[in-house]
Amino acid sequence: MRPRVSRRDLIKLGLMGTGYIVLGPEGRLARAESDGFTFQSPRTTPWQAELPLPAEPNPTASPLLDHPDAYRRFVDNQTTFFEIEAVERAVKFHPQLGDTAVWCYADRHIAPGATPSILGPTIKVRFGAYGEEVPGQPGRVRPKLAGGVLVRHHNNLPYDHRGFGMTRNTVHFHGGHVPARADGFPEDLVSPPDGFPNKVVFDRGEHYDYFYPMLDPGLVADNDIGRDHADCDETPSTLWYHDHLLDFTAANVYRGLAGFYLAFDDPNANSILSAPGKVALDIGDETFPDTDPFGHPTDPRILRLPSNDFDIPLVFQDKSFAADGSLVYNSFDHDGFLGDKVCVNGAIQPFLRVQRRKYRFRLLNGSNARIYQIVLADASGGRKPMTQIATEGGLMAAPIRNISGVLLYMAERVEVVVDFTSYAHGTELFLENRMRQDEGRKPDGVMSRGPQMLKFIVEGDPVEDPSSVPDVLRPFPKVTENEIRTAVRRTFEFERRHGAWVINGELAGQLTRPVATARLDRGEIWRLRNDSGGWWHPVHIHHEFCRVLSRNGKLPPLDERDGMAKKDTLLLRDNETVEVYVKFRDYIGPWVFHCHNLEHEDMAMMARFDVAP
């Protein structure tokens, strides 16, 4: 149980984190550097608390919808409604640390007595499309735009807030393929494109409805309702939602506004669509029987990856804490703020008891500016194998077995399966971060050992394990030569001039106008180039997953290569060039792409692009 300390108590004690930086444990700033401050958080003993696992939100019975017209064709009696509110709360990141005031997304319909978590509730949904016969035309099938999830986000952040962060909200569904109005655009546009709302940012006391269709891409087409095909080989699996407010994303996400969103295949989806259906079904049920009660084999496409209690999302976020437990942040660090404590799911160095079987771990880098090299290792640093199964775009075509570590940059998701079967009872294994990073600009290289972030304690005898990782997961065709030949080509060069970010020589971040307008359903090849030596930039493109065609003119590494993986965030190390194919298939409107080093993003390393019919 987390003790609850009221906000008034915190204010009375003067403990609210009012500053951008707070005095250190000795009552003075830990160290003033020429370039700013480094800060040392209080010491904490590792492995004192169990890994927190945020609960799913409870659906609300009453349908919610502010703008029925905008979502009319989607929302029906199969839609699930959630209500989430951004609130300030006193939480514990570690048992030895004082209470920390954070902002979190809280389920409005949380069960009485349930422990609220620091992370937002983990939304789990099924993904797919149903078909229905066109009335009066027997045999003709069209997709039924039904179901989906509608999340009403409330902003109940404090009116008298002091300190870093801005109490206005816009919630980005990261990796989501959703109508533009549900994407979490960073700022209200004075003259938005047709059909896009004037107001997408909501203030204290206000709310905003986000509708997530959870339909296979290619189906909806804002300009042409009722296509008869979908791209069924694209189901994302680990997504997340976080605040995306112009100029204040870094502070708001650092304060806690983030949560997981996990997607699974709907086994009943697209069964009567004429298009080729899904080749693999990740239904989140490892115990699904091979045969039905009549002895007939069940759907051979169903995967049995480790599921439920053995399917664990892990978000890594580095933070710094003052002696009283309050969060320390430096609003003047525009290179990228680094904390000195890595939190996993909102806990400093937690542990997880594991059984002797396989587990699926969904790794998310939810940090502002820290890049990780995550290694599974024993206490003396001996590396243990993991199998990579997914990236941002969901399951890869095939697993990559025996990987020795995972490079995880901001907003990136990598899923791994770890098999604990062969480790004896009592074995302790750790997730170590071997990336050295002393400043926000970029990391300083991989070390032979690194800080341990999470401890696994292996318990018991081997248990029955119905899960498996087959040699083929979700294969999909590569972008064809014809698609490459006919694609619209654009180059975006990122540079730094006079301390401001520049894209193709123009000042970045001017959201009043698009830097490019793509056409719906027309393939594009974007060449992303980082001309700023000494800086790394993970660039995130909203709305669609990318196919990585080349990195620095060469075949990209397997874990991002087209034909193997789909990506929504692409790392540009100093002077790197990455070429991606992207097709905006469904939704028109203004979108953004930006650096996901959140301080760089807040320094306007962002551009708007539009998708037009």
């Binding site: 004690l13 003067g14 403990l15 609210m16 984190g17 009012t18 500053g19 951008y20 930086i21 707070v22 005095l23 444990p25 000795e26 009552g27 700033l29 020429s34 370039d35 700013g36 004082g98 807030h161 002091r162 300190g163 870093f164 962060g165 801005m166 206005r168 700022e187 004075v190 112009l246 100029d247 204040f248 502070a251 003052a322 002696a323 009283d324 309050s326 430096n330 609003s331 003047f332 660090d333 525009h334 290179d335 001039r497 006079h498 301390g499 401001a500 970010w501 000042l507 970045a508 971040g509 001017q510 959201l511 009043t512 807040d602 320094m603 306007a604």
Partner: protein, 193 residues
């Protein structure tokens, strides 16, 4: 029992004192400066403390980005309207303080037709460099053209600070800045367009 309670109170007080948030001047240096009017001021105490402030860096002999930046900030000045000088200040700090004397700054301000509430300031080079470092806008050493493209803005009273390109759309800058101005019942003017 009472002893324990006293001990708890003392501990809490000590904790509160030790963990007291840093006063803003520990971040924003309270260095001595001179304005375009020749007035001696302290950067934090006199210009920033308790206010909504826009801070940028420039020098008068700069021919590349500074003139355009000052032009752009002039549009911000217009968009800020009656707030400038009342609850918002603009501060343009010279990074060439030896050449940019108060008299030079005054000429510069006159040339651009700046209004009260927009301060052009100069001082000792090391003090100005300290301000630049603390505000995170001088990572590239002595090159004075660097980081002239940034505008740091925030509300000292609430501790909310951000940065944006100084050449950004002036209406967007003004709207972002005015959101930090606490609502006054007397003015009853919604921020932004």
């Amino acid at each position: 029992m009472i002893g324990t309670r006293i001990a708890v109170v003392v501990t809490l007080l000590a904790l509160a004192a030790a963990a007291r948030p840093a006063r803003a001047q520990e971040i924003i240096p309270n260095v001595p400066l001179r304005t375009q009017h020749g007035t001696a001021v302290r950067f934090y105490d006199d210009l920033v403390k308790g206010k909504v402030a826009l801070i940028n860096f420039f020098f008068t002999s700069c021919t590349s980005i500074c003139p355009r930046t000052t032009d752009n900030l002039k549009k911000v000045q217009t968009a800020l309207g009656e707030h400038l000088g009342r609850d918002v200040v603009m501060i343009s700090m010279s990074v060439d303080p030896r050449a940019d004397t108060p008299a030079v700054l005054e000429q510069y301000a006159l040339r651009y037709g700046t209004k009260p509430g927009w301060y052009f300031v100069t001082g000792r080079m090391e003090d100005i460099n300290l301000v630049r470092r603390r505000l995170g806008v001088n990572r590239d050493g002595g090159d004075k053209t660097q980081h002239t493209g940034l505008l740091v803005y925030g509300n000292d009273a609430t501790g909310q600070w951000a940065a944006t390109p100084a050449m950004a759309d002036p209406a967007v800058i003004a709207r972002s800045v005015l959101r930090l101005v606490p609502a006054r019942p007397s003015t009853a003017r919604p921020p932004g367009p």
